[in-house]
Symmetry: C2
Subunit: 286 residues, 2 copies
């Protein structure tokens, strides 16, 4: 505790757009538990007096000794990443309107066709299809900040060394309680066009990979098993697509917003773009 | 520290499918920092000897005093929710293969048509369109564990009291660094069919709501502004859809997997289902 006559400063907070305060201790070199305790008490009183509502405190891993203090003063966890934990406290009288944590994980399955109309199939070293002799499409998880089309291209390259171009999203599957028994997984089935042919497998993940006729893939006994309707449905979409009897969503960029892209039905998107976005460009391989 | 002759137990860990151990302290009534410190040391040694790799420790908010101890022993944050923080430590020699945290947030925009072919538009109390007299579609964030179609129906009901039926996903937009300057937002544009007509606005969020001809919505000056190409593109998709010149992705359920549903092109999905999934059912209003 500070003695009489000693000036105690508040925590260094930045006002946000929603009437709240963000305290970021990522760059703070040191702070004792006592110091944090005192400053947090005074700051919370000041913010409450000022009518502030949502209080955010970001603590780097190096300041983990302060977590307990914040929790004891009524903060809850909001989210965490490897290098930090974000704590929040709601000072408003009404129910909290703080935005939710990230809630979903995004996966891709890659339907990769070569020039002979064959598709790329793999067998994995682990997981529940291991040792079942089932051929599946390359799959993976989209990284934070990565685009769906880019993640599909990356996964195929990592697993099989095949270079590809993104064509379209054929469908997507929503699976609840798929991650940590609580987060939802959205799995995008992406069509890719191979520009190289020679497969070199990533041995840490795959036991085999090869090119296979689409019909052979679809007709694997696995797809006829009880409870595998979703696999078979997706396999059939791939088959229809290979016969040009199916159309998914193309990826449309506008030059003005490079952090954004839109996936929509393809025939219309080209027309829509020329009608509405003079400076827009359509690209499948940005 | 335990004295000689006293038996010290390890932390109660459950083996996972990936050669790791999960320690869940959610139900533990009490544990002192010293006790946790000693047990964690012994447990880590034992797990290492057993060749365990990924170690997970789940600490409830009530055990926040233990966070610092785990971090000091080499754990990092993995993720957190209001009521707990999940810490991980990788004991393997090779790079960590622990799965990633949730990385995305999912939003919806609702294109709601009534029987007169008018669409539901709103003005919000806050956000960057406030006081600009721009009419927009109802939007919102999908909750953890909620389906896209269900979240769209819920948001429209909450904001305007209009009851709706889900029709299809018209398009989706991927926006990077949209949440916490790092998480990606995927925004699904959903078409809904209104089954009630009388609007009652949620006053905490909206300043106004009404039915508007689709052309009038599309032709708002806002959509012609520089940098608003993405808004205009989505508006045009809604217009084309209202003229039956556009088709998105329907929602297909199979009875076997109630936690999963597939969004795919509509004409094909019905055929695919009858061909492949005897017990499958198509529903847009489950």
């Amino acid at each position: 505790m500070a003695g009489e006559g000693q000036q105690i400063s508040l925590l260094d907070g930045k006002e946000d757009k929603f009437g709240g305060v963000e305290v970021n201790l990522m760059e703070v070199e040191s702070m004792t538990v006592d110091d944090f305790d005192t400053k947090l008490d005074l700051s919370l009183k000041a913010w409450k007096d000022q009518g502030k509502k949502g209080i955010w405190v970001k603590l780097p891993r190096e300041r983990s000794s302060l977590v307990d203090t914040a929790i004891k003063k009524g903060f809850t966890y909001h989210h965490a990443e490897n290098e930090y934990v974000m704590l929040t406290s709601w000072l408003g009288e009404e129910p909290s309107t703080l935005p939710a944590n990230a809630s979903h994980r995004i996966g891709i399955g890659a339907f990769v066709l070569n020039k002979n109309g064959e598709m790329l199939v793999v067998q994995e070293n682990s997981g529940y299809l291991k040792d079942r002799n089932v051929w599946k499409v390359p799959t993976g998880t989209i990284k934070e900040g990565e685009s769906i089309w880019a993640g599909a291209i990356r996964e195929v390259k990592e697993e099989t060394d095949i270079d590809t171009k993104f064509v379209e999203v054929l469908a997507f599957k929503e699976s609840h309680q798929a991650v940590w028994q609580r987060k939802t997984d959205i799995f995008f089935v992406c069509e890719l066009e191979a520009s190289t042919f020679e497969i070199k497998i990533q041995e840490s993940e795959l036991s085999a990979a090869k090119w296979m006729p689409v019909e052979e893939y679809v007709n694997q006994p696995f797809h006829a098993e009880e409870g595998k309707e979703m696999f078979k449905l997706i396999a059939n979409i791939c088959l229809k697509r290979s016969k040009k009897e199916y159309m998914g969503f193309h990826n449309v960029h506008t030059t003005k917003s490079l952090k954004e892209s839109l996936y929509c039905s393809a025939d219309q998107s080209a027309n829509l773009l020329s009608e509405t976005c003079d400076e827009a460009s359509t690209s499948t391989s940005l």
